[in-house]
């Protein structure tokens, strides 16, 4: 009995881990544009270089690819410290840096939902999550306005700015926190954020 229970627990934990891995893989940005640009660049530069180098290796004095003769002539005339060369080198370095930054994992598109099926991945959009939490805060009697800032790459908590027309807010902040928590229970994100409520009230 106890052995079955432990096995079930281990299996469930493993399934949750696999479900999380599927969600991360599916909802991570694909960087399609960066990938396409890098592949095109490697193909064009590699192809042109291969044709030119093979022609030179075979002893041909002609440049088979149009425009390369003029470029080679310019490279022979310009020194490393020429402003044009420095600008070109800087542009290449910046492009490389952009590709390096694009290769970073990035944050998932949307907020993944918790689940224990390793073949299933669910996500809710960040705007939809914010709106759902704002609706929950507005449902608290006395709350006039509500704005929510969702979890980000650095900050892990949800910040709710709520405003009431009451002069004495009493436990309104706790009520807003409970309402937002309850809505988060309905949504069940994979990483449950803490809720931070900032309440504004009438001071006159």
């Amino acid at each position: 009995m106890a052995e079955t229970l432990v096995k079930d627990l281990i299996e469930e934990a493993r399934n949750e881990r696999r479900a999380r891995r599927l969600a991360v893989r599916e909802f991570r940005p694909r960087r399609a544009f960066a990938g396409f640009a890098a592949a095109l660049l490697v193909t064009v530069v590699g192809g042109v270089a291969a044709v030119e180098l093979l022609a030179a290796a075979l002893g041909s004095a002609v440049h088979p690819v149009p425009g390369v003769a003029a470029a080679a002539d310019a490279l022979r005339r310009r020194a490393w410290h020429d402003p044009e060369v420095l600008a070109g080198a800087g542009a290449v370095a910046v492009l490389g840096l952009a590709f390096l930054l694009a290769s970073l994992p990035g944050r998932p598109r949307g907020v993944p939902l918790a689940g224990s099926d390793p073949r299933l991945a669910g996500v809710i959009g960040r705007a939809a999550l914010r709106r759902a939490l704002e609706d929950a805060a507005l449902a608290v009697p006395g709350i006039e306005r509500a704005r929510v800032r969702g979890p980000g790459p650095v900050r892990r908590n949800v910040v709710v700015w709520a405003t009431t027309h009451y002069r004495n807010p009493a436990n309104l902040a706790d009520l807003v926190r409970d309402a937002v928590d309850e809505r988060l229970d309905h949504i069940e994100p994979m990483r449950r954020p803490d809720v931070d409520v900032r309440l504004g009230w009438r001071k006159d």
Binding site: E26, R31, A32, A34, G35, A38, A39, L40, L41, V42, T43, G46, G47, A49, A50, L53, L54, A57, L75, R76, R78, A79, W80, H81, D82, V85, L86, A89, G90, A91, V92, A93, L95, G96, F99, A102, S103, P105, G110, L113, G115, R119, L120, A121, G122, V123, I124, G125, A127, A128, R131, A132, E144, R145, A146, R147, D185, H186, I187, E188
Partner: protein, 197 residues
């Protein structure tokens, strides 16, 4: 994909950075040590220097090796492009046999109907994507703002999605569900004013 982008970026960054450093005179002292002061500082020399041309003429293997490396890079780039285009096309048109496609179409209708019957679900769309080796079912569910998402997600996974897998004969088919709110507005929200008659 990400590793290939990182390698391309690193190569470009190193080449650009090295050229920038050479132009700003960072390697002048090093070049003077190795070749003496005969050619002047490295930053003042042309990009295609006489010394480079002489080295290429003396070592015939260099051009052939460089050409082979460039050819391999060009072929790898072409393969990478083809793989990306293939993945892009198969996101829209799945690479599965005709029988599976017909089964998937009828199963999708059932799945959409079952999903729309769940409380809080307003619309549902599904699409089978990918290849026979790596298939995916992508679902887009539009829900009411106050819908019980975790319940809908659990119900979908336990019932309709499992039936879909069974119908098309892919028991391990990964399913990706995107939930959307029926109406998403941005900015600060206000409680709606009550109607006064």
């Amino acid at each position: 994909m990400r590793i290939a982008i990182a390698l391309t970026g690193a190569a470009l960054f190193l080449c650009g950075g090295a050229a920038l450093a050479a132009g700003l005179g960072a390697f002048d002292a090093l070049a003077a040590l190795s070749a003496g002061a005969s050619g002047g500082p490295l930053s003042a020399r042309p990009l295609i220097d006489v010394a480079v041309l002489r080295f290429v003429e003396d070592n015939t293997w260099f051009l052939v090796t460089a050409a082979v490396v460039a050819e391999v890079a060009a072929l790898a780039g072409q393969l990478w492009l083809v793989l990306q285009c293939r993945a892009l096309i198969h996101r829209r048109w799945p690479d599965v046999d005709a029988r599976t496609r017909v089964l998937a179409r009828s199963a999708a209708e059932d799945l959409n109907r079952d999903a729309r019957d769940l409380p809080g679900v307003e619309d549902s769309r599904v699409r089978l994507t990918g290849t026979v080796v790596r298939p995916r079912l992508r679902m887009r569910i539009v829900c009411a703002g106050d819908a019980h998402l975790s319940e809908i997600y659990g119900e979908l996974g336990a019932g309709p999605v499992e039936r879909y897998r069974y119908m098309i004969g892919m028991p391990d088919l990964p399913v990706v569900i995107r939930f959307r709110s029926a109406s998403v507005r941005f900015g600060r929200r206000r409680r709606p004013k009550p109607d006064i008659h």
